[in-house]
């Protein structure tokens, strides 16, 4: 492994940070932050490996559509979180267990 290959480790690091956030937090908004981090890690890899000189940059197109989907996802997720907060008076994921058993 070449020393200059560290650039390929930035997005795995962000991905693992996002996974860590989703696992260790019980607040729904924090879990959402973790998901955003995971999406951005994927985006970074797409952009890093897309062709950038001529023709359509397919990797960048994929990243662009991921950004669109992420924006839509955050809007809907926050609408759901606000509704959950209105009903249960909490956003702690562990406390919302009406469907358990």
């Amino acid at each position: 492994m070449n020393w200059s290959d560290w650039v390929f480790l930035v997005s795995p690091f962000l991905f693992c940070t996002g996974v860590f956030l989703v696992i260790t937090r019980r607040n729904a908004v924090m879990a959402l932050l973790g998901i955003e981090l995971i999406l951005n890690a994927a985006n970074l890899n797409f952009v890093l490996f897309s062709n950038r000189e001529t023709g359509i940059p397919h990797g960048q197109m994929a990243a662009l559509f991921v950004i669109v989907i992420a924006a839509a996802e955050v809007a809907v997720a926050l609408a759901i979180i606000l509704n959950v907060y209105k009903r249960f008076k909490t956003v702690n994921i562990d406390d919302i267990d009406t469907l358990k058993n």
Partner: protein, 182 residues
């Protein structure tokens, strides 16, 4: 190894991203976490410029930093009573989380170590002098892509955004009959 200015700037942006991500993993305050996410997203936008994606860097700043983060902060403020301001969250499952994420990361490190990148396109992307030559036609190429090969996806994305707009407004509305009470 001599570092020129572009490489130093590249390392600085990567450092902002990595340190922001690390701090984000261990902060307990949701407000701090939101602003650390701002730092991470900004660092990623900077990295996009170095990888020859100026249009995407601008989209990243406008959509993520301008839009999504504001919505997230709204969510934080609406779900934590402003009177007893305690936007804290505890860290649970610390040990399993650490084991899983560090294990995953070491697997990635091993994989990246196995791959020979010297033949790939991405390697020559890091020849940053070459990147400067091609500055300027990025937005044009993305526009051509949007209206030719990705036309269906482009239209579907616009329909999706409309659906989400209506859906989010519908989900957060007040039920009928409650307007009078509030």
């Amino acid at each position: 190894m001599m570092l020129d200015l572009i490489e130093i700037a590249h390392i600085v942006f990567a450092g902002i991203t990595l340190l922001g991500g690390l701090a984000l993993a261990f902060t307990k305050n949701i407000i701090y976490a939101s602003f650390l996410l701002f730092a991470v997203l900004f660092g990623i936008a900077g990295l996009y410029v170095f990888y020859g994606a100026e249009f995407l860097a601008m989209s990243q700043i406008i959509v993520y930093v301008g839009g999504i983060l504001v919505i997230l902060l709204f969510g934080v403020m609406l779900t934590h009573k402003l009177r007893d301001l305690k936007p804290k969250t505890e860290i649970v499952n610390l040990i399993p989380g650490l084991i899983l994420s560090t294990g995953l990361f070491s697997i990635f490190v091993v994989f990246v170590g196995e791959i020979d990148f010297s033949q790939s396109l991405a390697k020559d992307k890091l020849d940053l002098g070459k990147a400067v030559e091609h500055v300027g036609n990025n937005a044009e190429r993305i526009g051509v892509g949007n209206l030719t090969e990705y036309l269906l996806l482009f239209e579907l994305a616009s329909v999706l955004l409309l659906v989400v707009l209506i859906g989010a407004a519908y989900l957060t509305r007040k039920p009928k009959g409650e307007e009078a009470t509030s």
